[in-house]
């Protein structure tokens, strides 16, 4: 993955993309035990090319395919990893991208979403595997309620969080505060 990140960092240095951060299962692995996955989700801020409000991934595809990297369905294959580039789809993604934490993989600099943003995005996405991942975060004790609660409130996810608590944990408050 070091080589993959170096290519992405070079693309950033060349001005094709702005800030980026790792989300999805690889992002979650920063905080949890490793989660099997075949791809890397790269949330990426795209440079505004012609003032268009619609984000386009074309510059990324052009940059990478002109350097010999292959595309495979919605992915680009970079140094053995299937990489999916995702422009922020809403204010939550934008915020996650801005507040991502700095880290490195074998010396290659990168950024990863905070645990709280990963959970909020999983809650918004709401597939079975997203709920399973949220449970892993809760059980691992790596979430900070003083950070997560405001994120959920800002992005209209408090009701979903309560429903998650009722369905999978002990009550409407997934932190268990109502059962203390």
């Amino acid at each position: 993955m070091k080589a993959t990140l170096e290519v992405i960092n070079r693309m950033q240095a060349d001005g094709v993309i702005g800030k980026y951060a790792i989300g999805g299962a690889v992002g979650a692995t920063f905080y949890l035990d490793p989660l099997a996955t075949l791809d890397i989700d790269i949330f990426v801020s795209l440079k505004d090319r012609q003032g268009s409000p619609l984000a386009t991934l074309t510059p990324i595809y052009d940059y990478l395919t002109s350097r010999g990297y292959k595309s495979e369905k919605e992915y680009l294959v970079i140094a053995g990893w299937l990489v999916q580039f995702l422009p922020p789809s809403d204010a939550l993604d934008e915020e996650a991208l801005q507040q991502a934490v700095e880290t490195e993989v074998e010396g290659a600099h990168t950024r990863v979403f905070t645990a709280e943003h990963l959970v909020a995005i999983a809650l918004r996405t709401a597939r079975a595997k997203d709920f399973a991942r949220i449970l892993q975060f809760v059980e691992a004790g790596v979430l900070d309620s003083s950070k997560l609660d405001p994120i959920l409130k800002r992005h209209g996810l408090l009701e979903k969080w309560e429903q998650f608590g009722v369905k999978f944990l002990r009550g409407p408050d997934p932190w268990g505060r109502d059962n203390l």
Binding site: Y31, D33, A140
Partner: protein
């Protein structure tokens, strides 16, 4: 819960905790092994044969 099952669960928890505490670089190496193993299983002819029979 039986004593045996309690020990199994405790062991699983301890292993996950140990894995959680690895550096991101070390976790990524494990991810790559998991990915390669998953792809190996998916491409196995034995798996394809079985799928045809079912």
């Amino acid at each position: 819960m039986s004593e045996w099952m309690r020990k199994v669960l405790e062991s699983k928890r301890a292993t996950r905790q140990r894995l959680r505490e690895l550096s991101f670089s070390e976790k990524v190496k494990l991810l790559e092994k998991l990915r390669d193993r998953t792809l190996g299983i998916a491409q196995s002819p034995l798996r394809k044969d079985r799928r045809i029979k079912v």
